[in-house]
Symmetry: D2
Subunit: 497 residues, 4 copies
């Protein structure tokens, strides 16, 4: 979710709470949320904590869990990792009940306040209602303006809260009707897990941009952003929540499926395969690890290199590097060692000190690299600053040639569907052509996998240009929805001017 | 303000923050709030902190300040005393602007959460709106039910929030009209300080049950619950905000007075004179210290005692004891020493351990008391448990006779106007007659000042029975407003059954 | 105890822990410590906490408790009031055993670190040894230098630690012998409570400068700085530990008394009567309240005033004001109201902002004071800054005349026996004669009780000039011991130059 | 360093501070410390923090830094990771000076207190003295008993403090003489960095059991446990501190080398190569990564397997798995995915819940593993519990065969040189033969590299049985020093009985 308010809002008393190591060097793309819910389980809240822990890579700044014990709702939220915010076992005694849901988030500028931590909760006329959202509503500002005008009072600066107010003010008779009424007004990307006194609602936007899967542990029903969370809590994968599907589960485990949006063609986010999801997740029937390994194979075919070693930028480059090495026959070796003691990197929101961080995160394996020609494999290039430093680190360690191979096409458009991307004008691929990029990062050669190569790696014949099988807007600029809150210039970026 | 929600509400992540010494031994009545605002002052927020500090006796559990810098609103809130929550000077840099308002509160059961700490704030269609409330809205639950039904979402469990939603959803054209529209719908007791981008609004309910005064420091205008706060910030007292008056002050210091409720007869709370207000405050033109001293004089006339020493229960009994001693000629001596290191007493909300606390708070001055006949002067008797212990302490210290004199009439009805009283059935005076009370507390004699004696002490000829000059419902049961949310039985209490 | 180290010492990781409201406006004298111990009691540590709470006025900055469960020693220490550091009942479960001792301290500059919080503890060859000290060792620096040279390593910058090292390195065969050996080497003032595996040791320096009393609760033996702590824990006063006496109590409650220093004439600190001790304590057989009230009587005789009201500077001036009023016939009234929500005042160590604080602490009762001639009664004048402000406050409130009467002789020498006094050159009485002081504080008249009046008030005929019955060095400059660590100039002060 | 005191010691006030994720599943061996020092650098303390961060894998529980600014010593210590304890940049302003040293530690039972966090510091007669120690002194208890008997008072329960007291009480004239005098009395393993007003001292025990290297950044001199810390701070590796060498560096950068122990044959710890050191470190001239990869090669030769995939237990098994795959021709694939959001595992000291943790740390890559015969490569087996779970996880994910290969010989003796090992009786290899171990962990086959294979992998022809080139006592039981504090039974373990 994205911060949407430009309004004068009181500063938050808690802003000085130190965000944990959010693992951001400002030069990667960030999934902004992971969601998890379970209904019909003993100690539901601790199951949720474990599930969220497995989804921690989707959001490291804050975490919240809401539970329902048949009578009342309870919640606990905090800034930091799941393991930190829920380190005290006593917390779970304060989150009783057999239904619970939770959310991990990556913060966006200005939105680090506690009141933005999800699940959001409201007392509606029919009782409590919680909502956990992965995605971004691209007409939230427009809807909010209208709601405030009619008397709605917003508690947070989150786009997600718009959904709650739309539900609260809808004139339809039942909660489910009101909820569908609300969804029909919003555009963008959303996977949602809601809890109400009657049970749990899970749904995905019509295009299924953000992922959501369903599993079972015995008689309890589980929803999660990725299958890895099912594995970790010991649930069996049942199926994906389908794009445009809305599932309602009551306290007896009875599930009903609704399809309020008809049957549009799905467009799941392809970047989940490239980077966001855990390699041990299965997404749309496809093993993420295998997709990434296969991207490496495609890349080796499309962009071979004459080299001594294939070196991954750890850890995200490892599967593609294994594929590249296997296809090319060049040995796979750990030429870069990653510290265990940073997240994706060790820095707080904002970008001061970003540059000093690379070294704390990655260190060259000098003894291995010295005198060698290496193929460096990374998942993507965002601003290019990290790539530049990594290439430099390899040269400082004595590498005689550095050939950079990227396991995704050039990222040259911003995402408006729940991924934290820089403005388009800061994306290296939006600013330069391939040759200029190679120069910028000082690589001896640079190549990206082609968009068709990527589609092949994830199991398609090739990209269906008329009706692409995935949302690949970050690579192609083909946004599958309206972007009401964003004017055309913002979307196009100043690089187009 | 009182917690009004019986709804399922999520527990608050912060409930385990330790409330400070809230100074409650469960056997005194509590003013639940103090409010303070200033407009047109440099460092307005630090002026508010100082003012709230002087009003700390009106609410010890939590404190909040909201400021406005001409563009944005800022706020800081926390659990604990003013001196604790605002101990770091840096906080004031985060509360910039020349208008600020604040609130101290005493918590009620279940409502200790951060989100109930005032001033409450909302982004309305015309901009930010903050509200600080002293009093209690006696139809808040009824109004809230209706608002929620129409789609309003409440953030807190405070009755005060009802006012904000009434303003937000009012169809009148201007904010002031909408505010008056809201006030017309509420019943009960309220002194309010609101801030809006256009300036500050201060008002008192039509009967003026809760106090509110206006002062000036140079060109800035100040509002406060009591005059002592004016003294402490260096402001000159100007006048009381009149019952039913609504004052609007803009950023140029221009003040306009409105009287939306016509001109009903005022009924200010008489217990402010007896106990709540600081002795150095002036209330309705009457020095609180002199009122209390004079109650002692009346009490000595109405209920003399044959004794060696007049001993106050410190500190609230001291002025009446001075009056009693002066009138009776019996020497005033400190027969009980009060520790400086507890508030009104050292205990947290809830009532465990209440009993161990008396000793930590008060200790007999044995060398003085031994062998003496003493007149003990206290301000009131609530449940009677403290009186019993104090009498016992005097006897243990060797007092030969203990004559208890109480500087108020018997408290035998609950307050529904912003004072935290036990249910009627727990009030000693509602359970017993005078003789039984004397037996219960084991005093050699017991007397209360008469209701007319009390009225005389505060400067009236006597009580006007048809149209009493004060709200004295806690003594007489004559509630001056409807009590919509409370059924007749609750008001009457089971002792009437 | 005083910080003695000038050595390079590592800064303490915890120095930024916020000291609580230490109640210091820099213009009062401070007792630096209170001590309490109990042996043979269930939940000994919680008895100690209650006892220390009653001694909180003797030291507000830090508190520690050490217990012994027959096998091991345990301790908990922290910065802040007893009620804060021990607010969590679970702490007492971590302080098991039937013997415990504790200490409250007022910090001195540079010595706020946790490692200086007492009881200090060491593992000696014969087992654990804890020590809690009230007083000051006036040759500690000299002794420390020698000990360090021989290989002792100090953990704290406290003078008290010298005693432990002297015990540890003594060559005598038994712990008691080694302890006496250590005491023989130190000079100055000390009341000590030590715990060892064999039991508790309590002792007072040969002159008995600092107080220490013994009491009993059933079969347990209690030691405390003042009798008020006995009252609060429910112990019966037995007797004072005599000057120069060393009491050893074993785990069966067997007590043995030792007098290692022969039988010098006692010189207890007279300022305990004037200011330090609680009014409900009994010191040397004399009620502190009565002493102070009697000082007021003497003062009224020695320095009458033509006035309308006797007004105490609360709370320490109250007993003397009652005495003055009784003797003079002028009515006693509360012309100054003291806030409950500061300690002795609201400020942190260091003296910034000292000046803004008076108002937060005291407020004039304008309605009473306006137009009146008042006699103001205070306990002492240190720097004079507070007196000046209080007199000014009375005038601002409309007092027509202000006659200041001080319930102690002029304080014109520093204390080296455990009281935190400014350098002599900052004491008003060391800088000016009576008339100049009256001018400085802008009083219409000023008088101090005479030294003989003071001695009479505390029950003596008069002061025995050859061999004074008390240590009154702060008034007379007659120090009863060597002051090895302090050169003559420091003692005399630059005012003598 | 190891906790050595069995004495009654007061519990620490800070024990309830939550240790961070210490990364311990109780089934790995732990290096207990990393040390780092720099002299002659601006912002020396922040260089140390960065260096310690790179050594975080050597100790995750606590960290401390001491600095010296030419006049005074400063220190900051805390529980948690370097990035946590030093997250606030302001801390470095409180650690001024151009010389600083630091320490990270892994706690041992009962020794988590703040006072055990190094560097330890003392004010000696010649000034401040700090010491940071990696290793374990095997006669510390014996020495301590003697020191305490003579009057030394210990502050910590750390063996390291013995060295300070030996220095403090030595009768030699210069600090260096006293330090050498102290070292001659101790036995065991130690790499030390000390700071004194005159400069820095770095030394290694005569056998060089624990590592220590020297580097330079411009004119500053750096010491660190491993070369990776030199890389991260931007220092150039100069040479190892040699076994038995003592280097003194003054504030002008002048270095003198001393060899107080003559010239014994070195016996550096071989487990540093196998597991403790970072793969990007160079130890004794040997790349740790290459050593581990080569162990995999040796293992493939010694213990081939008929399988489809080589799967490392991440991350420590990866280099050996790469070697095994390269030698065997079986593809290397990530069959187990490791979460980034735990340290080595997510659990606190003590071993409750150890069992639930494996899943949070590692998850099977089901899509890859299902139906495959896999060779699992891990670094070592300690208790065997983790191996059992990992094998089980592979089978649950559908692996048809699981062949476990271990990149070290069987660990069947405890370490007494600074590595936290279970008692011998809990080591799987001390309890069972190879076949029984294979059964216990339920692997289809199990093999360890031979001791000679290990020696070959680290660059030796083979192990010199008479005078082994390394300390390999954990594999062979041949301890290279006396173990004064440990009786023969403890060393041998009850399994020998």
């Amino acid at each position: 979710m994205t911060s949407i308010s430009q309004h004068a809002a009181p500063s938050d008393a808690f802003r000085d709470e130190t965000p944990w190591d959010v693992g951001d060097d400002g030069d990667t793309l960030h999934e902004e949320c992971g969601i998890f819910g379970v209904i019909g389980a003993r100690s539901a809240s601790s199951v949720v904590a474990l599930g969220l822990h497995a989804l921690q890579h989707r959001g490291q700044e804050a975490v919240g869990i809401t539970s329902f014990d048949g009578g009342e709702f309870f919640s606990h939220r905090g800034i930091g990792h799941v393991a930190h915010v829920f380190k005290n076992q006593d917390i779970f005694a304060d989150l009783p009940g057999m239904m619970a849901s939770g959310h991990v988030r990556y913060s966006t500028t200005g939105g680090s306040g506690l009141r933005n931590i999800q699940p959001l909760f409201a007392d509606l006329a029919d009782g409590g209602f919680s909502i956990a959202h992965n995605g971004n509503i691209s007409n939230a500002m427009t809807l909010k303006r209208d709601l405030v005008h009619k008397g709605s009072i917003f508690q947070s600066t989150s786009d997600t809260e718009v959904i709650i107010h739309l539900v609260a003010t809808s004139r339809y008779p039942t909660l489910l009707d009101r909820f569908v009424d609300a969804l029909r007004l919003i555009e963008g990307a959303y996977a949602l897990i809601c809890t109400t006194p009657a049970g749990m609602i899970a749904c995905r936007d019509p295009l299924g941009i953000r992922p959501l899967v369903m599993g079972r542990i015995g008689s309890s029903v589980v929803f999660a952003s990725e299958t890895v969370a099912l594995d970790v809590v010991g649930a069996d994968f049942e199926r994906e929540v389908e794009p445009g599907e809305l599932l309602v589960v009551d306290h007896n485990g009875v599930i009903s499926s609704h399809r309020p949006f008809g049957d549009p063609s799905p467009r799941p986010c392809i970047f989940e395969q490239v980077y966001f999801s855990r390699p041990d997740s299965i997404l749309g029937g496809q093993s993420v690890y295998q997709s990434r390994r296969q991207i490496g194979v495609e890349l080796a075919k499309e962009a071979p290199a004459d080299a001594d070693l294939v070196v991954p930028v750890p850890d995200s480059g490892v599967p593609a590097a294994i594929g590249y090495a296997a296809e090319s026959g060049i040995p796979f070796e750990l030429g870069i060692i990653r510290s265990h003691y940073v997240g994706r990197t060790f820095i707080q929101p904002g970008d001061s000190k970003r540059h000093a961080e690379v070294k704390r995160k990655h260190n060259a394996n000098r003894a291995l690299v010295a005198g060698k020609r290496i193929v460096l494999i990374d998942d993507s290039i965002v601003r290019g600053t990290t790539s530049l430093k990594i290439v430099q680190m390899m040269r400082d360690a004595g590498a005689s040639e550095v050939h950079m191979r990227i396991a995704s096409p050039p990222t040259d458009h911003s995402c408006f569907y729940g991924v934290d991307t820089p403005e388009r004008s800061k994306l290296l691929a939006a600013r330069m052509d391939l040759e200029a990029m190679a120069d910028y990062i000082q690589a001896d050669s640079l190549a990206f996998v082609s968009i068709d190569g990527l589609y092949r790696a994830v199991g398609q014949q090739d990209r269906n240009a008329k009706c692409p099988q995935f949302c690949d807007a970050c690579f192609t600029g083909e946004y599958p929805t309206h972007l009401t809150d964003y004017d055309a210039d913002a979307v196009a970026g100043e690089t187009e001017a």
